[in-house]
Symmetry: C2
Subunit: 221 residues, 2 copies
């Protein structure tokens, strides 16, 4: 009954791709394999995504949306102190990468359609969460351009979490922990220290208020 007009094959293909990515990694991706898993002919995906790159781009877009959500949650869980919130974002960034290694690595490949509008929007949204955190910490209103110090802090924070995530996934830290099994423990212990050092080095401490009220002033939205 549903050999044709599968329902939403589009969604099924995206899910199958994500599953394949999760268990075999992005290098082992195969369009035919995905079609096989969705129980469909190898030519079927072309009609929905045009290309293998099209399908991968859709999955990566979903990935960036997930990252955005994770960053927001990590930020919110960290309380009100702007620097703690930035650390919360950083931890969330790396945790996201460790929880979805295939997805994460896919998101920064050039096998994607880099000029796809949806992808650009999703990636930019994730980036804006970080920028928003920086604005808060530096007391810059949403419209204003960032001063040099803020740019530097933004780049430093983004680079450090991205590098940490990428190096961890590439197994480059494995000789430092207990060879890939204690990886999680190692990350939980060392990442926080790295983050606080970087944040303290490039983001100014919040202006002292009486420790009674938690509000941070009229600059914050």
């Amino acid at each position: 009954m549903h050999a044709y007009h599968h329902g939403d094959l589009r969604h099924a293909l995206i899910e199958a791709t994500d599953a394949l990515l999760a268990e075999k990694g992005p290098e082992a991706f195969s369009l035919r394999e995905v079609a096989r898993r969705a129980g469909v002919s190898p030519a079927a995906p072309a009609h929905h995504f045009g290309d293998a790159a099209g399908l991968l781009t859709a999955v990566a877009t979903m990935g960036f949306d997930g990252l955005t959500e994770a960053l927001r949650a990590g930020q919110a869980r960290a309380g009100q102190d702007p620097r703690a919130r930035l650390c919360g974002q950083g931890v969330a960034y790396v945790r996201f990468a460790m929880r979805h290694p295939g997805r994460f690595r896919l998101m920064f490949r050039d096998a994607l359609r880099q000029n796809d509008a949806q992808l650009q929007r999703a990636a930019n949204t994730a980036f804006l969460v970080l920028e928003d955190g920086i604005r808060r910490a530096f007391g810059i209103a949403p419209g204003e351009p960032l001063p040099a110090d803020a740019w530097t802090a933004l780049l430093a924070l983004w680079s450090v979490v991205h590098g940490y995530a990428h190096l961890t996934l590439a197994g480059r830290f494995d000789p430092l922990c207990g060879d890939a099994s204690g990886r999680k423990r190692f990350v939980e212990r060392s990442l926080r220290e790295v983050l606080t050092k970087v944040v303290e080095g490039s983001v100014p401490a919040p202006r002292r208020r009486k420790p009674t009220s938690a509000r941070s002033g009229p600059a914050a939205r």
Copy 2:
């Protein structure tokens, strides 16, 4: 006369691979294309490298050797101040990535034979240059284990340069500079600031000496 026994086909294949990587990137690598460029049958590489992964591993190993050299040079060019030397290494790391994007991206793929002895040695050697810089800055003798602060600084520095390099190559900073053409200028301007912030935040200032002698004391080798 040289249809057979090419001389050193091994070397020719490595060079052809590197050239292909430079102009098309690692995602477009093809063993047959490399064989074609070396003027040889598609089965020839198998005898020297066994596998496509074997050839790529050899190229990546060469890449790590080059990175080691670049780090040493960048460190030496920065003078005697330990923190300046660390910044010099960081700049060299990112410049290496920008000069050899394909090579660099290949070096952190999992299409390699990660347990290859040569590769591990080469990668570890590059890492040790960075560790040596940290030892100098913290005044830790080569045999001694690193204290927690030094580990944190090492991870922070490595992560930040790696993340910066990777994000730049992925084009993730292009919206921030003049869309991919001013990339070089942007990097030269912002990287240094990022690096000094991170280094100053996680590496202690050298103990004050009279500004006459440049020697840094008996702790340094």
